[in-house]
């Protein structure tokens, strides 16, 4: 499977350096290594979800408990989380660091992913969620740190879109 192990590890190490202690996740192809790394790390609490919106509540609980967390999801999972984001994270000013695999963008071969790719950035903008596309390995560490800093200082969700260039080797 040509999901980049090197860049998955780069992302995971950057999360660890930000003192992220809990990761919620719903599996998808591009996230397979990231989820495995979280599962194998004894310092990390991994919560495997049935639906991504649960992750908003999990992260809110972690924030109240004083732990930093991150959410791993596909962009369709982000779409499935919108009510939780608006009526919990926005309403109650909960910091969320969302790492979202950007399926359905340039180079996508799976027809079923393409509609989500069309509208992901437009929805993020409509929700006034700050976001950044992660595509270059050399910027991963810095951008994750910056996104985590902004989420904590602004007490709001911040999204990093994990692009094909970063996550896929072909």
């Amino acid at each position: 499977m040509p999901v980049s192990l090197t860049n998955s590890r780069l992302i995971f190490d950057a999360l660890k350096e930000c003192d992220i202690r809990l990761v919620s996740a719903l599996p998808e192809t591009w996230l397979v290594h990231l989820i495995r790394l979280a599962d194998e790390d004894r310092e990390m609490i991994l919560v495997r979800l049935a639906k991504e919106e649960e992750g908003v509540g999990i992260s809110a609980g972690a924030h109240f408990a004083g732990l930093k967390s991150a959410m791993l999801m596909q962009n369709h999972g982000f779409l499935a989380s919108i009510n939780g984001i608006v009526s919990f994270a926005h309403l109650y000013r909960i910091p969320l660091l969302m790492l979202v695999s950007y399926r359905g963008s340039l180079g996508e071969r799976d027809p079923w992913q393409t509609q989500g790719g069309n509208i992901s950035e437009a929805i993020l903008r409509a929700l006034a969620i700050p976001y950044f596309c992660l595509d270059a390995p050399e910027t991963v560490k810095k951008r994750i740190r910056q996104a985590q800093t902004l989420a904590e200082s602004s007490l709001q969700p911040v999204a990093l879109l994990l692009t094909r260039d970063l996550m896929w080797e072909e």
Partner: protein
């Protein structure tokens, strides 16, 4: 059985717990008994009170966490029961007030009014301890038992579809949220 009587029967037990409630009647009634800094009322995001309790319980495994949920909210996040069961934090007590109704929006009947069995769903999801109670006496006994036990428990409390006269409290959402977090941080320091 009235929900307010159930809440009153265990109110004194809640002092050393972290309590998360759903919106509507549950929040308003618990608040009316006397707000405490260890109470967080999730006044929207239906379904996520249980997920919030799970997040708290996973991060603070020594801390007793109580979630006051409702049938309408649980039905919006049935998958959340499977996630709770998957990790089954020992000190999480999940109480579902089942009035078979979406009361605060006009009393529309939920699927529990036509036979959907939340106890069966919770049990089949893998929640290790599940009970249904129909009297205040049994409610208090089941909750007290769960709070002194060491196993994830879901209690379905069948209550009447009657709520308070008003749902809005004088506690702002953000004040509640910051106070709740500050309370938890003070526990960690002490």
């Amino acid at each position: 059985m009235l929900r307010i009587d159930c809440l009153r029967s265990v109110y004194s037990e809640l002092e050393n717990c972290l309590v998360v409630t759903i919106m509507g009647a549950v929040a308003a009634e618990l608040h009316s008994l006397g707000h405490r800094p260890n109470f967080f009322y999730l006044q929207h995001a239906m379904g996520l009170a249980s997920s919030t309790g799970l997040g708290l319980a996973l991060c603070l495994p020594e801390q007793r966490v109580i979630v006051f949920d409702g049938d309408g909210s649980v039905l919006m996040n049935l998958g959340g029961l499977s996630t709770m069961a998957r990790y089954r934090p020992k000190k999480l007590v999940h109480i579902v007030f089942d009035n078979e109704s979406l009361l605060s929006v006009g009393g529309f009947p939920t699927a529990t009014s036509t036979g959907t069995d939340l106890e069966g769903i919770a049990r089949a999801s893998g929640i290790p301890r599940v009970a249904t109670v129909r009297s205040v006496e049994n409610f208090k006994a089941a909750v007290t038992d769960a709070m002194h036990g060491n196993e994830l428990t879901t209690i379905i409390a069948k209550v009447e579809a009657k709520g308070p006269a008003a749902y809005v409290t004088d506690l702002s959402l953000l004040e509640n949220r910051f106070q709740f977090r500050r309370h938890i941080q003070s526990l960690k320091r002490s």
